[in-house]
Symmetry: C2
Subunit: 231 residues, 2 copies
DNA sequence: TCTTAGGATCCTGTATACCGTATCCCTGAT
DNA sequence: ATCAGGGATACGGTATACAGGATCCTAAGA
């Protein structure tokens, strides 16, 4: 028992196997998003290796992965540093995100199955509950999960692989700046547009949501910059 | 002596330095695109390392990079295999490409400088010459260069990093299927739209071009499938 | 002859150790 | 206070080793 859903041939005995490098990468990514490693932090291979109790190799590979995800930048022979997102980087992030989420939303509207829509409704319900109890962190997570789900609904795996790393950076950013309460209400409306099955309507909502999001980040960043003028 | 350009402090004595892993990656990518390693080929680390006269490490890192670019898929504990692009993969590729190139084109229209436009005109001229002399390979390269240039014109570095790996796969595909002659004429018209400075016009041309491209690949792939029915 | 069990083999994933060298940082002299 | 010199540090790469999963080959059995 305990194992379920294993219809045909290839089994997932140890489907939960994950190379060490991937686990290290996940751990480091989380630390960056959680601001344990703020922008500018140097990621020293030997330090991390020692701390995680692994050899340098998986750490190196993890760092390379984070580099291709845009979380760190490695300077030749100097190593990896957690990037600081410039104003322009953020604009670009939203540019690309907007276009891709519009596409995702459009495809989701025509391709999502009933079962999938139900699942997303569940996530929204979770968010609603977090909103009512004022659990800011849980609401943030629900919001992030929502975005990931929209992507899945698109049934476009390339879209997912391209957008996922960006989502990571976006979540990172929003966690520093955004207000999860505003976002949540938007998500509900957006979702209904997708569930309606109209690609155009879904696209319109996606675009609106992305722009709202961008505005929120912009204002919060502008405020912050006034408080802390350039060094 | 013999050294030049060393005015101030840190100069680019060895600005052309490139980590070994990157050179290995470039080499392997080229081999895939050139069909030296056709779809299904296993990339065995030790073999490649021996052949290139490097250790396994840079090879591993190169393979990881190619994985994140979508050229190979690695199965845990089994290693990397050159991917076969399924019909769906190709559709997804064009989906994403279309949206992103529309964005690139739109931004290029408003941001490109005169000097940049001149440079692109030069590339088109090169293509025209290749067309006249019937140099298919040169024309293909000019076409590929053109797409890369449009990206640069957008002045959106994220867009470039996201789209570049896809371009690689696209070029790979087009080299197998496409007809460079048809594409060239399209490029000229598209470029004029960008040079006109109208974002909407540029976007429209980008979309048209992407769709034409998609159709070309679709038909050629359909033909091929008829000739070689499923194994 | 076909199937199957078992073992040999290949190759990845990870660990260790080590070297050259670029960069950084500290110290000391001017 | 500035600048040069000399470690110390840590990356980039090599070489080697080894456990264990995946594959393949072979030989025994039905």
């Amino acid at each position: 028992m305990s194992r379920q859903a294993d219809a045909s041939g290839s089994f997932d005995i140890d489907a939960d196997y994950k190379p060490l490098r991937d686990r290290v990468r996940d751990e480091l990514r989380q630390r960056i998003i959680d601001d344990v490693y703020p922008a500018g932090t140097r990621l020293v291979e030997t330090e991390i290796a020692a701390q995680l109790g692994v050899s340098r190799l998986p750490v190196r590979e993890a760092i390379r992965a984070l580099e291709s995800e845009g979380f760190v930048k490695t300077i030749p022979r100097r190593g990896a540093v957690v990037v600081e997102l410039s104003a322009q980087d953020i604009e670009e992030l939203f540019d690309v995100r907007e276009t891709l989420e519009v596409l995702a939303s459009r495809q989701a509207a025509t391709r999502a199955t009933k079962a999938e829509l139900r699942r997303v409704r569940g996530i929204l319900a979770r968010g609603r509950k977090a909103l009512d109890t004022g659990d800011r962190v849980a609401l943030g997570k629900a919001n992030e999960a929502f975005h990931d789900e929209i992507l899945k609904l698109s049934h476009n795996s390339l879209l997912q692989t391209v957008l996922e790393p960006l989502q990571g950076r976006l979540h990172w950013l929003l966690r520093q700046t955004g207000d999860p309460y505003d976002l949540f209400e938007e998500h509900s409306a957006w979702f209904e547009a997708i569930a309606s099955g109209s690609a155009d309507l879904a696209a319109e909502h996606a675009r609106r949501h992305a722009r709202l999001n961008r505005e929120i980040v912009r204002t919060l960043l502008a405020e912050r910059q006034q408080q802390a003028p350039p060094a």
